[in-house]
């Protein structure tokens, strides 16, 4: 989701200070243009309204499905799956990554497996998971966890390796035991990388989840809603579902990723000074 190169922080924003109203208007303008275009095309009758519903139909469907509780139910199930899968990935990913960073033996054993598994697109595993675990929630959550664990493992591993040797040695010299060393030197030192890994993992989990919901035949979920609506040519339902997906995605982006990134950048600053 947020994948601009790390260096982009140097691209200093030199915006002239506009009022909030002007900024809102400027941000709204492109949407108004696109919305007007959509309306024109929809009402011109070039395409059947079934396939290309005007915005008011989509809004009405959205309102109807929200009031009847169908849309919130789908959204809730998707979010629960996202959280469950990501939590599993975070726990196992950080544990495996830190272990690989700390122990040469663990690194030698696990790195080949991680580097073989990582480049295969997550969805390619989906049929295999469905075959092994059967259709439904178990497959969906397991696959989300499996796929989003890779960036977390990789970044945690890099982070622990990046902890300066001299810090570890001086902590040793000052008589820190293994537990203190781990809690007070290794974890804080690796934290920026681990957070980056978690951010990438969550973004990956989100991108893959909708696809999995379409494939895994789960009873509820936004991916399933969209995919099921296709059978009945309900384009308005599909587009309403996509609006919810966009809203959840934007919320993740604004509330989670940007926060995490700010936090990470702050830690970075602290580390390099």
């Amino acid at each position: 989701m947020h994948d601009v190169a790390e260096v982009s922080d140097f691209a200093v924003t030199t915006r002239t200070a506009d009022g909030p109203l002007r900024r809102a208007a400027r941000n709204a303008f492109p949407f108004i243009v696109v919305g007007a275009l959509w309306e024109t095309v929809a009402h011109a009758g070039l395409f059947p309204a079934r396939f290309f519903p005007p915005l008011e139909t989509i809004a009405a469907t959205f309102a109807r499905l929200t009031v009847s509780g169908v849309l919130p139910h789908h959204a809730l199930d998707t979010i629960v799956r996202l959280i469950a899968g990501f939590a599993l990935a975070a726990v196992f990913g950080v544990a495996i990554g830190v272990m690989m960073g700390r122990s040469r033996r663990a690194e030698d054993i696990l790195l080949p497996l991680v580097s073989i598994g990582a480049p295969i697109p997550g969805l390619a595993y989906a049929p295999l998971f469905l075959l092994w675990f059967g259709p439904g929630n178990v497959s969906a959550v397991a696959l989300v966890a499996f796929v989003s664990a890779f960036p977390i493992i990789y970044n945690s591993w890099t982070g622990v390796k990046a902890v300066k040797d001299i810090w570890v040695r001086s902590a040793h010299a000052m008589g820190a035991d293994d537990r203190r060393l781990f809690r007070h030197v290794i974890v804080p030192g690796a934290l920026p990388y681990i957070l980056t890994g978690l951010r990438l993992g969550l973004a990956q989990a989100w991108r893959i989840l909708v696809g999995i919901e379409m494939l895994a035949a789960v009873p509820w979920g936004l991916g399933w809603l969209i995919f099921g609506a296709q059978e009945f040519l309900n384009t308005d339902v599909m587009l309403a579902g996509i609006v919810v997906i966009a809203l959840i995605g934007l919320t993740l982006e604004k509330l989670v990723f940007q926060r995490l990134e700010q936090f990470t950048v702050v830690r970075w600053g602290m580390l390099t000074s």
Binding site: M1, S8, F31, F51, G211, L215, G249, E253
Partner: protein, 261 residues
């Protein structure tokens, strides 16, 4: 150091052999249906058969064709648009809000809509790949153009560079670390998207379709064989193509530090 390295390689090889052996033992033990967990020999012979009769190559070619078409479309749209956004404030003001709203929508969510609009087949897959690949490239190009050191621009201007020279000799090389990062991320996204799109917008060809179709007939050996091919192609493009692209451009120009992402 070399002794340490040999030991690492040795252990790595040992792990892979051990995992394969455990899998083989589980597959042979008879606790699991052989249709779900075929022994390695069966997977290997399936892979060899499909390679010999050419069907694996046909599917791989279909997948590559789709991914390359979508990726090329993304390059032809994303690069110029990203440069324009970086150079002209009005373009940025118009495109950026739209891009930020569309970007968090996973490309796979559009598949059912696109199927309704364009029917099953290559168009849907190519458009999904395009959607997935567009945004990383667009945003990286934009940041890259904006990150070009203003001193370079002013220096080139002072030395009498025309707009044309400024663009090709300063802005494009200056933005290239970002652009290459963007290309790499775009391709990764495109590669994931093409497999997903092939599964959902089934069109009788392509590696994603093969895997998904094999599930219907419980052919786990076909699935595992296709996974090997998918992993292999992904690995080759990532390491060989983008690795050498980076070496040929930004490392040679001494910008390697900026290219780490």
């Amino acid at each position: 150091m070399t002794a340490e390295r040999t030991k690492s390689l040795w252990r790595g090889a040992l792990t892979i052999v051990a995992v394969l052996a455990i899998y083989q033992a589980a597959a042979r033990s008879g606790h699991f249906a052989p249709a779900l967990m075929p022994p390695l020999g069966v997977v290997a012979s399936t892979l060899a058969d499909s390679a010999l009769d050419g069907s694996m190559f046909v599917h791989a070619a279909a997948t590559l064709y789709r991914v390359l078409c979508g990726f090329a479309l993304a390059i032809f749209t994303g690069l110029p648009l990203g440069v324009l956004m970086g150079r002209f404030r009005p373009v940025e003001n118009f495109v950026l809000p739209l891009a930020s709203a569309l970007m968090p929508i996973p490309s796979l969510a559009w598949i059912p809509v696109f199927i309704l609009w364009f029917g099953l087949g290559n168009t849907v897959t190519i458009l999904i790949v395009f959607y997935a690949a567009l945004f990383p490239l667009l945003l990286n190009t934009w940041s890259g153009v904006r990150a070009v050191n203003p001193i370079w621009l002013r220096a080139a201007g002072a030395m009498g560079a025309t707009e044309h020279a400024l663009f090709w000799k300063v802005i494009i090389p200056g933005a290239s670390p970002f652009i290459i990062t963007g290309l790499r991320q775009s391709f990764l996204r495109a590669w994931v998207a093409v497999i997903g799109a092939e599964m959902l917008a089934a069109s009788n060809f392509g590696l994603g379709w093969v895997i998904f179709d094999a599930k219907e007939f419980l052919n786990a050996d076909v699935m595992l064989a296709s996974l090997v091919v998918i992993g292999f192609i992904g690995f080759i493009t990532e390491r060989l193509i983008f690795g050498s692209l980076e070496r040929a451009t930004i490392y040679r120009w001494g910008m390697a530090r900026a290219a780490k992402s």
